[in-house]
Assembly symmetry: C2
Homo-oligomer: 147 residues x 2
């Protein structure tokens, strides 16, 4: 098995193929990791979410990490790690960016279901409003293993 670093372009190609990633945020140096659906374009990651722990934490500390991978076997996998800054796409300031995020995310089937359903379960409130956020990418790196 060989493990080698991926180029930035290869990392971007993985992030465009994959929809589910793991988002890491941190408060008072306690890390917290949750699966999210995301859309990528060079420089940015977009996520649709509802209010909850991860949003509260990222509002407090906008430093985030997103990890995405394709794991076939123990000797055939790729994994990409992005670090960056959380930016909540509020209206009306970020209306154009929200529309753009929605368009990119809509390429993935059912991209909105989990965020909304999860929240609805917790609140018994059917009038859930989602929010969009963007990660402004600062670093991107990846490893590829081939066996």
């Amino acid at each position: 098995m060989q493990v080698s670093a991926m180029s930035e372009q290869e990392c971007g190609e993985l992030l465009q193929r994959v929809f589910i990633g793991r988002l890491g945020c941190s408060l008072d140096n306690q890390p917290y990791v949750v699966p999210v659906g995301f859309a990528y374009e060079p420089g940015y990651v977009y996520v649709f979410s509802t209010l909850g722990k991860k949003i509260e934490w990222m509002r407090e500390n906008p430093k985030v990490c997103l990890q995405a991978d394709e794991i076939g076997t123990s000797s055939n996998w790729v994994s990409v790690i992005v670090t960056g800054t959380y930016l909540e796409l509020r209206e009306p300031q970020y209306t154009i960016e929200r529309q753009h995020a929605r368009k990119l995310l809509a390429k993935h089937n059912n991209w909105w279901i989990n965020a909304v359903t999860e929240r609805r379960e917790e609140t018994n409130d059917i009038a859930i409003k989602g929010l969009f956020f963007r990660i402004d990418i600062e670093t991107i790196s990846g490893l590829r293993a081939t066996g």
Copy 2:
């Protein structure tokens, strides 16, 4: 689709079925997420690793998070989140715990390959020593979606 909280027993069952999780650590409130192979038993998670960024960070800040999941479709998935404290199983103090960790991890094929190969690539040093660490679990929670 329904999303419901999992019992601690259900969370434990998932952690016993799954081998790959995503480990979150944090330094100066910058989160960092990497895939790891792990073994679980009630109260503890065990990981074999080599030296590198995540180990350096966890030595500085032992607060960690491990997320594991089984994602079938967008409406059929389970996800478990563990938080806890990093404990490096150094010798000779933790010889018994290391042997125990090795035994649990050995149930998974090739559990040691990735840790060793990854490091070898970076250092060109074939004399790599692995280390074992344990996460002493503080909280455990999970969500299950059924469509």
